[in-house]
Each structure stands twice: as structure tokens, then as C-alpha cells.
């Protein structure tokens, strides 16, 4: 079970539902669109990828298939850029 957990030290700014994450000492800047922002907000270090997918699928049943594809992809992207780690 993968539990995506936010990496410490990021400054987070929300603009119109999108996010910009800045890690000043590691010089990382990330932009996340509205879908990515929703997923990021559910990555609390306790929920698994499957649980996050279920929560969003229940909230947006018409987009369940897209969500099933998007959640792992977004988490993978955020992890590869240093904003999430797996626990």
C-alpha cells in the first residue's frame, strides 16, 4: 500500500483552484492544475493511493475512469519532482 506523504519545507500558494509549490532551499518550483491540486490536498500521509482514488471517484462519479488514471499519474509526477514521498 503506497501512502503518498507531502515532503516538508514547501511553501504552497493556491490560485483559482490551482497550486504553486515552492521549496526554497531545494530550488524546486511546481505548478499543479485543478485536478492535481485536488489530489495533492488529499495526500495527507495517512490515505493510500486507492483511498484517494475512491474519495475523488465518489465526489465526481461521472469522471471515475479518468480519476482512476489521473490519481496515480499525478502522484507519480509530484513524487518525481520531490513534493511527495511514499510511506
Amino acid at each position: 500500500m503506497i501512502v503518498p506523504t507531502p515532503v516538508d519545507g514547501f511553501q504552497i500558494e493556491s490560485l483559482d483552484g490551482e497550486l504553486v509549490l515552492l521549496h526554497p532551499t531545494r530550488n524546486i518550483i511546481i505548478h499543479s492544475n485543478q485536478t492535481g491540486a485536488l489530489i495533492w490536498q488529499l495526500c495527507d500521509g495517512a490515505r493510500t493511493v486507492e483511498e484517494i482514488t475512491e474519495i475523488l471517484g465518489a465526489a465526481y462519479p461521472e469522471a471515475r475512469d479518468e480519476i482512476r488514471a489521473d490519481v496515480p499519474a499525478v502522484i507519480q509526477t509530484l513524487a518525481s519532482r520531490g513534493a511527495l514521498e511514499s510511506k
Binding site: 511553501q11 490551482e18 504553486v20 515552492l22 526554497p24 518550483i29 505548478h31
Partner: protein, 277 residues
């Protein structure tokens, strides 16, 4: 020979050049004309010493910086080093790597790293009526307000020589200096007789990207995308407790922002003029 000084300011700080070389002082007068004088503390003091055989040595705040460099190298090194000093030190203004012009009171910012084409676009736009602020760095007060530019001469690389060749008829002017590698320093008033603007409210922000052979393409950016791009051009983020995030966010909200891919400068500048008007 008597040593004379010249003060150059930007973003609330000043640097001083001390030299006994009349040609060097004349070049500073011509190419830093719009940013001469003291504004804020003197944070760097350069002493330029003329050696034999037209070579120079330079010290910075009493420590050796360059030795046995020729006149061209002297101008280039000091242009670059003084900008680095002025950029990195400001604690009252955010400094972005960007060019800026004005159409009436509408400020246009062209934001991008070297090679993005912002200097060529700036020169072309200035030659076509927009007022010049800078082709290199802008400063924005942390509480918002007008942007100001480091209004030195434009620096046009060899590949952009067609721009000054098209509009410049008198290259004997003190405001025009061509180097052996084909690069030219061009005083903005040689391309546009209007006075250089000192400050203007930001209205339009463009992230240009020159791609040889590319189709002209524009894309409006969301505020978050704009903030993301701007943070990558912020030079002195480390000087601020929030790393400039809040003031940059405010700027991102205030402006209309676009990504621009182009290969034809005439098409690109026509579009820029239309949306800036």
C-alpha cells in the same frame, strides 16, 4: 591622470566606477545614461586601473577582480558584474530577469532566460514606438506598484544585428558600440526618440520563446501558471522571508499573461503591440 567616479543605480542600490580612463568613463556615460546617479547605498566600488598596452585591472571593494583585460573585456565584465551586484542585494524590491517596455501607461513585461529572444523583441518593439525600460532586469516594490527597469543600453547579439541595421542610420554615435564578436550596445534613444520610462504599471506579461522555424503560437496563462513562470525568473528570492511569493502572486493576479512561441519577429511584435495597446 585624474580619477573620476560614476554612480549607477538600480533597485534601491548603487555601484560606483572609479577610473582615470576617459574612454571608459565616456562609455559609462553613454550606455548607463538613464541609470546614472545615486539611489540608495553604494554596495560595490570598482576601481579601474589603466595598465600599459591598453590593458586594465579592476578591483572590487579593494580586492582584485580582473587583471590584464582589454577594453572590450573591461566593459563586458563590468556590465555583467555590476548587474549581479545590484540584482542580488535588493531587499526592498523583487528583481526579475525580464525586459520591459511601455505603451502609454500600459507596462509590458517580457520574461525569460537568455536565448528566449526577449532582447530582440525589445529592440524591435522600441523601434516601433514602445518606450524602453530595460532589456535585462526589472524591479517591483514588494508592496506592489510600478515596475522599473535597469535602463542601460540594449545589448544585441550578432544574430540580432538585422534590427539595428534596419533602423540605425548613424552608427558613429556615442550610443552605439560594436564589439569584435558582432554584439552591439545600442542606446535606446537611437531606436526611439521618446524618453526612456522610469516606471510603469504592469499590464501584460509575455513569456517568449524563439524557436527557429516554429509556427506563431500564443497561449493565455492562468494566474498559477504565471506565478510558476515568474518564480523561475525571480533573481533575489532569498532576500525575502516568504521568498517573494506573496508579491509575485500579486503581480501574477494583476496582469494578463501569455506564452508565446515564435520564429518570425515581425508577426510576434505585431501581436504584442495589438494586445498591449
Amino acid at each position: 591622470m585624474q580619477t573620476s567616479g560614476r554612480l549607477v543605480h538600480f533597485a534601491g542600490n548603487t555601484v560606483r566606477f572609479n577610473s582615470d580612463h576617459a574612454g571608459f568613463l565616456a562609455a559609462v556615460d553613454a550606455h548607463f545614461k538613464n541609470c546614472l546617479g545615486e539611489d540608495g547605498p553604494i554596495i560595490a566600488e570598482y576601481k579601474i586601473t589603466t595598465l600599459r598596452d591598453s590593458d586594465f585591472s579592476v578591483s572590487l571593494n579593494g580586492s582584485d577582480l580582473f587583471s590584464k583585460i582589454n577594453f572590450d573585456q573591461l566593459l563586458w565584465h563590468l556590465m555583467q558584474d555590476s548587474i549581479t551586484q545590484l540584482n542580488g542585494t535588493s531587499t526592498t524590491e523583487l528583481v526579475f530577469h525580464a525586459a520591459a517596455l511601455a505603451h502609454d501607461d500600459n507596462g509590458l513585461i517580457l520574461c525569460g532566460q537568455s536565448g528566449s529572444g526577449k532582447s530582440s523583441l525589445t529592440a524591435w518593439l522600441a523601434a516601433n514606438g514602445l518606450q524602453y525600460l530595460t532589456d535585462e532586469v526589472i524591479a517591483l516594490p514588494v508592496n506592489g506598484g510600478e515596475i522599473s527597469g535597469f535602463s542601460r543600453s540594449m545589448i544585441l547579439k550578432r544574430g540580432s544585428a538585422f534590427i539595428w541595421q534596419r533602423w540605425l542610420t548613424k552608427t558613429e554615435s556615442d550610443g552605439f558600440l560594436q564589439f569584435s564578436d558582432g554584439t552591439a550596445w545600442v542606446a535606446p534613444t537611437l531606436l526611439n526618440a521618446s524618453p526612456v520610462r522610469s516606471g510603469v504599471r504592469p499590464r501584460v506579461l509575455i513569456f517568449p520563446r524563439y524557436i527557429a522555424g516554429a509556427e506563431f503560437q500564443t497561449q493565455p496563462l492562468t494566474s498559477a501558471e504565471t506565478l510558476f513562470q515568474l518564480l523561475q525568473c525571480l533573481v533575489n528570492a532569498r532576500n525575502f522571508p516568504d521568498h517573494g511569493m506573496s508579491a509575485t502572486k500579486q503581480l501574477a493576479r494583476e496582469v494578463s499573461a501569455f506564452r508565446l512561441n515564435y520564429s518570425d519577429i515581425e508577426i510576434a511584435t505585431q501581436w504584442i503591440q495589438k494586445i498591449t495597446a
